[in-house]
């Protein structure tokens, strides 16, 4: 086989796999819908300046607390209404997606990298290194991150950078634990032992033989962590410990709408719906990825749906 042919056939199998995957996604409507919502939210954040009808910070006191367009007094220039300073809620929602996604991505990236590095190190070396590192993980895991966050924020104040650092420092342990466990079991597998006997360099074993096995589960884990971080960021912003005005964030908007809850329900409702859509879609999509990449889970899913179609008791 020439190189060209090899490349063509590799491309063909890749295409076949991708189209099989696409078909599977098409059949699973929850997976599909969640992916579409996610793509929509990401696009919304990326193209915020193009699609937002107003500047999210532009105040217009004469248009304060305009209700959504379909209600009395509502106007179509502000489809979701305006807040207590007359700012357009739709525009604030569109812009608010940016910081949420940015912070989520950064934290998953940094926390994930730190955790994966620690996990690889502990899992591959084992022994005392492993003992010490995992003891640290155990202790930190048993303390909810909010304690450290309260402490740090009370001392250092808030900023986006602090938020990213603090959330990374409180979310790396899951990755470390998972990677360490997988590396430990893979190290004992026949093919890694074979590679070691042949004299493979440890780095090569780690990156060539072990890391590829971690990619899909790490992806699923990252998505799940992402949801935790979105919720944490929203909660911190709501408490006044996260994103500060004039920046916008969904959690922050809910916090400022809280004081007007007796007269304007839309201030807290719409940003909340955005948070729920984002987190729910991430959860659904990650569970679709997890099940689809695991043959056993796929068989189970099939059996369950078959059983429910037959309507029989197990």
């Amino acid at each position: 086989m020439t190189q060209q042919q090899a490349r063509n056939s590799a491309q063909a199998t890749w295409r076949a796999n991708a189209s099989a995957l696409a078909q599977e996604l098409w059949r699973d409507k929850t997976g599909l819908v969640s992916l579409i919502i996610l793509v929509g939210i990401v696009a919304m954040a990326l193209f915020a300046p193009l699609i937002a009808p107003f500047d999210p910070a532009a105040q217009s006191l004469s248009h304060r607390l305009t209700p959504p367009a379909w209600l009395d007094r509502g106007v179509w220039t502000h489809p979701l209404g305006t807040d207590h300073l007359g700012r357009d809620i739709l525009s604030r929602i569109i812009w608010g997606a940016r910081l949420t996604l940015l912070i989520g991505s950064c934290v998953v990236l940094f926390g994930g990298a730190l955790g994966t590095a620690v996990g690889l190190w502990a899992g591959y070396n084992g022994g005392r290194t492993d003992n010490i590192l995992m003891r640290i993980v155990d202790i930190q895991v048993s303390f909810p991150g909010i304690l450290l966050i309260l402490l740090i924020v009370s001392v250092m104040g808030t900023s986006v950078v602090t938020l990213i650092v603090v959330l990374s420092l409180t979310n790396w342990m899951v990755f470390a634990r998972f990677v360490r466990g997988t590396v430990m079991s893979l190290r004992q597998s026949a093919y890694v032992e074979a590679a070691e006997i042949v004299g493979c360099h440890p780095a090569r074993i780690l990156f060539r033989h072990i890391l590829p096995n971690l990619i899909t589960p790490l992806l699923v884990l990252s998505i799940l962590e992402f949801t935790n971080i979105v919720l944490a960021e929203a909660a911190l912003s709501f408490l006044g410990l996260g994103i500060q005005p004039p920046a916008t964030s969904w959690g922050l908007d809910i916090a400022s709408g809280r004081d007007y809850i007796y007269i304007a329900w839309w201030l807290v409702t719409f940003p909340g719906i955005c948070i729920v859509s984002l987190v729910l879609s991430l959860n659904l999509f990650s569970s679709w990825v997890r099940i689809t990449t695991d043959p056993q889970e796929r068989e189970k899913r099939f059996a369950h749906s078959y059983m429910s179609r037959r309507g029989k008791r197990s």
């Binding site: 796929r298 068989e299 099939f302 059996a303 078959y306 059983m307 037959r310 029989k312 008791r313 197990s314």
Partner: protein, 333 residues
């Protein structure tokens, strides 16, 4: 008394079971018929996937979705057993008249319940014993299956016992209500060889003492030879040959039985070579028409495309158009 004249305890007629999987419908049992008479031992032999265990699960009422019994009858003393899970008739049979010993004693006992509680619940439920009575009887049962210091063992948990001990506990549970039929589903496969012999001896002794009928499921022909009155050989969800064990072992009629015997190491016959059956059992999602052994059979001819009828072999029947013809070179027993 001749066993043949007594009515069967258990009769299975043309049983068909299928399992739905992502790959398609697996036809696990494709028309299985068998009968067990009081006090007799029936050996059910076949390789993994041939349907032995599914047969036992069907008898025990343990087929659950995605599996289902689509056709056929299972009768216990003449009464239908399929779908009797929720009837009074069924509730008095499973665990009381028919009981089971499973393959893996490591996982077959509840890890969080004491041995005494696991034996005792059968006695209190089926025989309406009080807790104290059940405890006393449980200790007797443990002694009967050869466990020393039974009183102390009652309060132990499964993880404190060895594999052989756990299988003895399983047997104690199975004989607790003095059943008429015991299904032993590969009871020795997961055990050490020395322990295997002990467990088999125990089963033989209990059968004599209690007059049990036993269905002995195994892939080990050597075990069947010494233990079972009659033997049924399963292949691809069907029984291909059935008959008196002594006869089958001397005059195997079905090519598959012949091959199975030829591939088993026997101490009483000196052999140069073990036989090797080429190929794999067929997929049960789309089994071949006619005889399912046809793709691997050296005798296969055009007629084998039609489903074989059961030919009389003298000591039983074989589902083969070429029954009694030696199928493999160098096989002449």
């Amino acid at each position: 008394m001749n066993r043949r004249d007594t009515p069967p305890l258990l009769q299975i007629k043309d049983l068909k079971v299928q399992f739905a999987t992502r790959a398609g419908i697996v036809q696990a049992l494709r028309g299985v018929s068998l009968a067990v008479r009081p006090g007799e031992t029936l050996g059910l032999v076949g390789e993994s996937g041939s349907g032995k265990s599914v047969t036992s699960q069907a008898i025990m009422g343990l087929i659950s979705p995605p599996g289902e019994i689509i056709e056929g009858q299972i009768e216990w003393r003449g009464q239908p057993l399929v779908g009797a899970q929720h009837t009074a008739h069924g509730a008095g049979i499973w665990g009381k008249e028919i009981s089971t010993v499973f393959q893996d004693p490591m996982t077959s006992l509840n890890p969080l319940m004491t041995v005494g509680a696991q034996i005792g619940e059968v006695l209190t439920h089926h025989l309406k014993m009080t807790r104290a009575q059940a405890r006393r009887r449980s200790a007797e049962l443990l002694a009967a299956v050869g466990i020393s210091a039974p009183e102390r063992r009652l309060d132990e948990y499964p993880h404190e016992l060895s594999g052989g001990m756990r299988q003895r506990v399983m047997i104690a549970i199975a004989i607790a209500c003095e059943p008429a039929l015991l299904i032993a589903d590969e009871p020795t496969t997961a055990l050490d060889v020395t322990i295997q012999a002990q467990i088999l001896e125990l089963l033989v002794r209990l059968q004599k003492e209690l007059g049990l009928a036993i269905i002995f499921i195994t892939h080990d022909l050597g075990v069947v030879a010494g233990l079972c009155h009659r033997t049924s050989v399963m292949y691809a969800g069907q029984i291909v040959e059935t008959g008196e064990s002594d006869f089958i072992f001397e005059h195997p009629a079905h090519p598959y039985t012949q091959g199975l015997l030829g591939s088993t190491l026997r101490l009483d016959v000196s052999e140069d070579e073990l036989l090797y059956i080429d190929g794999l059992p067929p997929s049960l999602i789309s089994p071949p028409d006619g005889c399912s052994f046809r793709p691997r059979c050296p005798l296969a001819s055009d007629i084998c495309r039609k489903a074989p009828t059961h030919a009389m072999t003298g000591g039983g029947t074989a589902a083969c158009w070429h029954a009694k013809t030696p199928a493999w070179d160098g096989m002449d027993r």
